[in-house]
């Protein structure tokens, strides 16, 4: 019964090997071959990870020690991969997302000799390694490989907005990796090991210790920069807005979510025994998550550049996921798992639809595209469905996650968490619905030609791609997002135990409460109402409009100014975030 164990290193080794081979012979490959090879590799990764997830469900966590360096009693020297259903399941989802996106990007960068595919495969290998590893330093290494691949992919177009976005992204995320390394060093200074399980024992044994708590703060801040949580979130909207569409899909759908996934691993497997960390997570991280959801929702509504809009929507949803994590309960963790996958599917599909608009109509500006979506009916229907799902419509995986997260948050910290979740969910849904109405139905007042004439970017994506080839992977993702919520919940709840042994005994509360169903309908109703308000301004009484504008304009102005696009400002905000941690520890 050893064969599943032999599979464990493959999902990382295969893409790395294929990428290296492809790079070596890239000049001799026929044009289409890299597409086919990369897609097949991603599918193979997804398949192997699915098998691993199933096997670990049947036989418990699989642990693979590289080079046979299994731990001797008391000494853990080797580096291991630990495969539990949640980690392998998420890795399988990432593989699938990559396969879909590689089909979408078919022939995308044909003149560049497969370099795009090499970077994508490197990115894939790093993300899967990041999911499966059970060694803190190894986690840092995958974090770095992932970041470097992402930096290069963001700057791929070498034009001004993408270079500026990539520079901001690189500087902030490099700071994140330094903080992470500092955290690794501090925790190693106390525990003397780097294996998650051994660290968990050491932390629980040593009791309260400022060095361990400081290490958690540095690690958490680093992962929260990656996961774009307030006040570390500024880089995300710059980077996601300028990266090529297929890359944005991966960023929003998987990479940023991985930050929270790793944070959950640290909180539940390494620092579970520390009371200070528990209090910090429950208090500060919960508040930051809720604040991120609210601010992200407002910022989403203020955007007209479709990619920036979706980027801010991603920030909102990451905030919601963080509240689920910060509840530190089985329900919250199950919610986080379901939400990660559900959000990745929906947001991936929406970014692909923006790519379709860019390819077919040469613009990503909501006003510039006014009424231009006629003739792309399937894309319009898909975008409306995506908007409804983002807005909390009670179907599918994302809704299952939202319910669990809202339940866990409100029982851990109070009703206000559910309020923030509904607010963020509704505003992001409303904004996507508003854009759908404007672009595909020509609803709302016709924009000033002066204002709308200039498409907001001169992005040149290849225009002669066949429409069906772009729509097929997008519709596949949406169909998967509509998997019955109960199924998703059950898998998520079963994965909690092996992922977080510390929660053994407590099971996720899956029962549909009437309140949760009401919350879903409430947020989707709010989303539709806000979208209708924005689109129907011409038919609304003037005093109402004036009152709403007087209230909201200063708020949006201030928020817009804060998102300045200057990397220096972002670094100041990172320092502010670190200060928040220390103030909370000193006085909280």
């Amino acid at each position: 019964m050893n064969w599943p164990l032999d599979l464990v290193p493959l999902p990382v080794a295969i893409p790395l090997a294929v990428a290296a081979a492809m790079l070596a012979v890239s000049h001799f490959l026929p044009t289409r071959l890299p597409d086919v090879l990369a897609t097949l590799t991603a599918l193979a990764v997804a398949a192997i990870c699915t098998v691993l997830a199933r096997q670990s469900q049947l036989h418990g966590v699989l642990t693979y020690w590289f080079g046979g360096w299994a731990p001797r009693p008391g000494v853990v020297l080797g580096i291991g991969f630990g495969v539990d259903p949640a980690s392998a399941g998420f890795a399988a989802f990432i593989g699938l997302l990559f396969a879909a996106i590689l089909v979408f990007a078919w022939g995308y960068f044909d003149e560049t000799h497969a370099h795009f595919h090499v970077l994508m495969l490197l990115f894939l290998a790093a993300m899967v390694g990041f999911c499966l590893t059970r060694d803190l330093f190894n986690l840092f290494v995958w974090f770095e490989v992932m970041s470097v691949a992402a930096f290069a992919l963001t700057a791929y177009q070498l034009e001004m907005p993408s270079l500026a976005g990539a520079l901001n992204f690189t500087v902030t995320n490099s700071l994140a990796s330094f903080m992470m390394l500092g955290g690794v060093g501090l925790v190693y200074a106390r525990a003397g090991v780097l294996d998650f399980q051994a660290l968990g024992h050491a932390v629980a044994r040593d009791g309260p210790d400022p060095v361990t708590t400081g290490a958690f703060c540095l690690l958490a801040a680093a992962l929260m920069i990656k996961a774009a949580i307030l006040p570390f979130h500024f880089w995300l909207s710059d980077a996601h807005a300028v990266a090529p569409s297929p890359v944005s899909v991966i960023f929003s759908g998987a990479m940023v979510g991985l930050g929270l996934f790793a944070l959950a691993k640290l909180a539940f497997q390494v620092f579970a025994g520390s009371a200070e960390v528990h209090a910090l997570t429950h208090g500060l991280l919960m508040a930051l998550g809720a604040a991120t959801a609210v601010v992200g929702g407002l910022m989403t509504r203020a955007q007209r550049h479709l990619k920036r809009m979706l980027a801010f929507s991603t920030i909102t949803h990451l905030g919601i996921m963080l509240t689920g994590l910060a509840a530190l309960s089985a329900t919250g963790l199950a919610g986080l798992f379901a939400y990660l996958v559900g959000h990745g599917l929906v947001k991936g599909a929406l970014f692909m639809l923006v790519g379709v608009l860019l390819a077919e109509r040469a613009s990503v500006d909501e006003l510039g595209l006014y009424g231009l979506g006629r003739g792309l009916a399937p894309a319009g229907a898909a975008m409306a469905l995506g908007g409804l799902l983002l807005g909390g419509a009670p179907w599918g995986v994302l809704d299952a996650g939202t319910r669990l997260v809202a339940d866990a948050g409100s029982s851990a910290a109070g009703r206000w968490v559910a309020g923030a979740v509904v607010f963020g969910t509704a505003l992001t849904g409303a904004t996507v619905l508003r854009a759908t109405g404007r672009i595909f139905l020509g609803l709302g007042p016709e924009p000033d030609p002066e204002e709308a004439a200039s498409p907001s970017q001169e992005e040149q994506e290849k225009a002669d791609r066949p429409l069906w080839l772009m729509l097929a992977p997008c519709l596949l993702l949406l169909a998967l997002a509509l998997t019955p919520g109960d199924l998703a919940k059950r898998f998520a709840a079963e994965s909690v135990g092996p992922f977080a042994p510390v929660l053994a005994g407590s099971t996720a509360a899956l029962a549909h409460t009437g309140r949760a169903t009401m919350l879903s309908w409430m947020s989707v109703a709010l989303a539709v109402a806000v979208a209708a308000f924005d689109l129907g301004r011409a038919h609304l009484p003037r005093p109402l409009l004036a009152a709403v504008d007087a209230l909201s304009r200063p708020l949006f102005l201030v928020l817009g100014e804060l998102h300045s696009g200057l990397v220096g400002d972002y670094v100041v905000w990172i320092a502010v975030g670190l200060a928040c941690f220390s103030i909370y520890l000193a006085f909280g």
Binding site: V148, T170, S174, F178, L181, D238, H305, V567, V571, V572
Partner: protein, 118 residues
């Protein structure tokens, strides 16, 4: 272990952050980022250091001789490699910005970025 390496590491990280926040040139900014990174080297080497111990090479020492911790040295080596990669990538991007727009001051590049973000 003395408290000095911890203080030096904190100082380097802070001064690097200050440099990035106030920088008016991407090249200077990348240098400041390297300063931040060197704080992690100091921290890690400080953690692994043992007074009166030898380097962790046992070729001419009997096994069991007290040695400094080789694990953190491996971490630092990995970190240096990573740092070189990131710095090279950043400098390449700065070069592209300069070549296309003849400008490396983030403040002066801001209007170009803002136009594209609207």
């Amino acid at each position: 272990m003395s408290v000095l390496p911890w203080l030096v590491a904190a100082w380097l990280f802070g001064i690097g952050l200050y440099g990035i926040a106030s920088s008016r040139s991407f090249i200077h900014l990348i240098g400041c980022l390297s300063v931040c990174q060197s704080s992690t080297y100091v921290l890690l080497l400080g953690i692994g250091y043992r007074w009166g111990a030898v380097a962790p090479v046992f070729y001419d020492h009997p096994p069991g001789t007290p040695a400094v911790d080789p694990v953190v040295q491996a971490l630092v080596l990995t970190d240096i490699v990573v740092g070189a990669t990131v710095t090279a990538l950043l400098l390449a991007m700065a070069l592209q910005v300069d070549r296309k727009y003849g400008e490396l001051d983030p403040q002066k590049l801001r209007p170009l970025v803002a136009k594209a973000r609207r």
